[in-house]
């Protein structure tokens, strides 16, 4: 067990190192991305570009640049933005993290509850109208781009209907920290939560339904039935329990990716100043260090989520400990 844990931790470190190298190469070594020219601005004189290149250490060998960049990002934490001179990157990301965390955790609660309920209901009424209705809605949810759903939600809640009794409680777009006004925080997050959760309820519901139905073919279900257990007990205690493991694994990955900043589209549409929106804004002005930092931040979350999921699987399934 310990050896398995250690080998996974080592692998995590290797993958993180690899990711940081790839990210660095994408932004600072692709022939078309000349960071010096980017910093100097459009139509800058050749001398200015050269001066900038020297100033930022961009004329040094690549591995030195990589080392400097990582040192300023992780050790001294004083890497500054190219676009807004003086804006430090690490504090900016740290300041944006709580907004993203509120969005994703609220949505996660909704989509786990909704997804599991959808999956079990559809499997229990397989082939009949509740199943068809739920699966129809799930297919729609998966087919719609999440930012478009967000726009449509805004159209309903922020436009003409905003002044009616139905949606007058919805505050204007934006994010209010929980510590400032918990009530306002909650009211402003309801629709972003629902929007983000909708897609995942569709995904998880469909997956759980398929899993339960497949589990129904297993021998232990037949045994459970033969023992005379009620249909409800077989469904909830046997089939759902075993079919839910892949869902838990998927949840770990999705949660990690989203907290890392993959909720960028939802954040942009609802004006939530999270990590994703930070990336989006850096993207508009081509602020390379900021984008690099947010992408690294995100991929580290994925790697950590991956490791946590792996460890959970080790705990759940003894067969994996030998692999």
């Amino acid at each position: 067990m310990l050896a398995a844990v250690l080998s996974r931790l080592l692998r995590m470190v290797v993958v993180m190192f690899g990711i940081s190298v790839i990210t660095f190469l994408i932004f600072f070594a692709t022939p078309s991305s000349d960071p010096a020219a980017r910093i100097a601005g459009k139509n800058a004189a050749q001398e200015t570009i050269e001066a900038v290149r020297k100033d930022f250490g961009l004329d040094r060998p690549l591995y030195v640049q990589y080392g400097l960049m990582m040192k300023r990002l992780f050790v001294t934490r004083d890497l500054t933005s190219f676009a807004n001179r003086g804006q430090q990157i690490v504090p900016a990301v740290a300041a944006a993290a709580p907004a993203t965390l509120s969005l994703v955790s609220g949505a996660a609660v909704l989509w786990m509850l909704g997804g599991i309920l959808t999956g079990i209901t559809a499997a229990a009424w397989r082939g009949r109208w509740p199943d068809k209705l739920l699966m129809g809605i799930s297919m729609m949810a998966v087919a719609m781009p999440v930012f478009w759903v967000g726009e449509m939600v805004n159209l309903i809640t922020q436009n003409r209907l905003h002044d009616t009794w139905a949606f007058s409680w919805v505050p204007a777009l934006g994010y209010t920290p929980f510590s400032e006004d918990p009530g306002l925080w909650f009211r402003s997050m309801v629709f972003p939560w629902l929007t983000l959760a909708f897609l995942y309820i569709g995904l998880y519901g469909r997956m759980l339904r398929t899993g339960i139905i497949e589990t129904y073919q297993e021998d232990f279900i037949r045994t459970a039935r033969a023992k005379g257990l009620t249909g409800r007990k077989v469904l909830l205690k046997h089939a759902t329990r075993s079919a839910i493991i892949p869902i838990v694994i998927m949840f770990g990955m999705d949660f990690g990716v989203l907290v890392g900043g993959a909720a960028v589209l939802t954040e942009v549409v609802f004006g939530i100043n999270g990590v994703g929106r930070l990336t989006y804004q850096a993207l508009k002005v081509l602020d390379l260090p900021m984008i690099m930092a947010t992408v690294l931040y995100a991929s580290f979350f994925v790697v950590i989520a991956n490791a946590v999921v792996d460890l959970l699987c080790l705990l759940i399934d003894p067969r994996m400990r030998r692999a």
Binding site: G18, V142, L155, Q217, A262, V264, L265, L283, I291, A298
Partner: protein, 348 residues
């Protein structure tokens, strides 16, 4: 994001004993076609998808013959006739201070059927042209992704050893990037510049850039199951038998591995294409996909962002187009998977 296609859904080799409907002698592909034709869902969704493709291909005809506008040039000062009266496409705002202009809304007539966008261009015509690009990008990147994933997955699974070590680790690393952020990163450094690879030249704003990016980011999601499938096939009795008979590795690969992997690839195709349509729209919405003045469903959505409250149709129409197309692709893909993999259809 989490829209991972189901993994390890693979087809067992065509079972020669499955002759209950006299299909066995007709070959596996014929059987798949018959299975698809027997399903109303598959037939209807395929027909509707074909209709969408034909409609987008008729975009130039629509723009010239029906709407009579150039959907790629801004028409800020254009005027059209409604009920015999000339109406400007960009209408002076009458609300509030009366400042600024709002593009014309849906006329439901031949000209500006769905209204105009912020630059006075016909949304309906752009929707059709945009559909061409969205479908082309999604289709081409699907083919590219499947091709690369097949090569990587088969190489890793079949050659094993050091090749597998390098490729698997590379796949794991790319997997660890959130798809959207990887695509955004690649787009930033690639878009808006021209490249020359020997005789080939990619001009800035070319569709090849989004195709490459979208094609690359999903490779790990397909390559991983392919590798697993090849590893399993390597241990299967018929491959071991072939090896025992002294058949060359190349021939085993061609005759035994490839046909069995191809079904896995085909199952992925419609779902991947659906995913790629959504990815293209998201990237274009974030302005790192298709570049103006070129249109795609994603760029029209981006144009509509600022007009959301005044002219919602500019956002509504491309979103619905994406939803319907993706829905049809997924419906068709579900049937295709059930036909190719009878095991997964058992419980349905």
């Amino acid at each position: 994001m989490g829209a991972t296609p189901e993994h390890e859904t693979a087809l067992p080799p065509a079972d020669p004993s499955a002759g209950d409907k006299g299909w066995s002698r007709r070959g596996p592909w014929r059987r798949v076609l018959q299975g698809l034709l027997a399903s109303p869902t598959a037939v209807i969704s395929a027909a509707l998808l074909a209709l969408i493709v034909v409609a987008t291909l008729l975009a130039p005809v629509y723009a010239k013959q029906v709407s009579g506008t150039d959907p790629f040039r801004s028409g800020l000062s254009a005027k059209i006739k409604i009920d015999g009266k000339p109406v400007p496409v960009m209408q002076q705002s009458t609300e509030g201070l009366g400042l600024g202009v709002t593009p014309i809304g849906p006329t439901w007539g031949p000209q500006y059927l769905l209204g105009a966008d912020g630059q006075g261009r016909d949304v309906a015509a752009r929707l059709l042209y945009g559909g061409q690009n969205s479908l082309l990008i999604a289709g081409a990147s699907t083919v590219l992704c499947l091709l690369i994933a097949a090569i990587v997955g088969i190489a890793a699974g079949y050659l094993g050893g050091a090749v597998d070590g390098v490729l698997s680790n590379l796949i794991d690393m790319i997997w660890a990037f959130p798809v959207y952020l990887l695509a955004i990163s690649l787009s930033i450094v690639m878009i808006g510049k021209s490249y020359a690879f020997g005789p080939f030249e990619i001009s800035s704003g070319s569709l090849i850039v989004p195709i490459l990016i979208i094609g690359l980011v999903y490779v790990p999601y397909v390559a991983r199951p392919i590798r697993g499938r090849v590893l399993a096939l390597n241990q299967s009795e018929f491959v071991m038998a072939a090896r025992g008979l002294g058949i060359r590795p190349g021939r085993i690969l061609w005759r035994h591995i490839l046909p069995n992997v191809s079904t896995t690839l085909i199952v992925f195709a419609p779902m991947l294409m659906a995913l790629n349509i959504v990815t293209e729209s998201s990237l274009s919405f974030l302005s790192v996909g298709v570049q103006p003045p070129n249109a795609s469903w994603g760029t029209i959505l981006q144009d509509g962002q600022t007009l959301l409250y005044s002219r919602p149709m500019v956002s509504l129409a491309p979103g619905l187009a994406i939803m319907v197309t993706v829905l049809l692709l997924n419906l068709f893909g579900d049937v295709l998977r059930d036909v190719l993999d009878p095991k997964s259809a058992r419980g349905r």
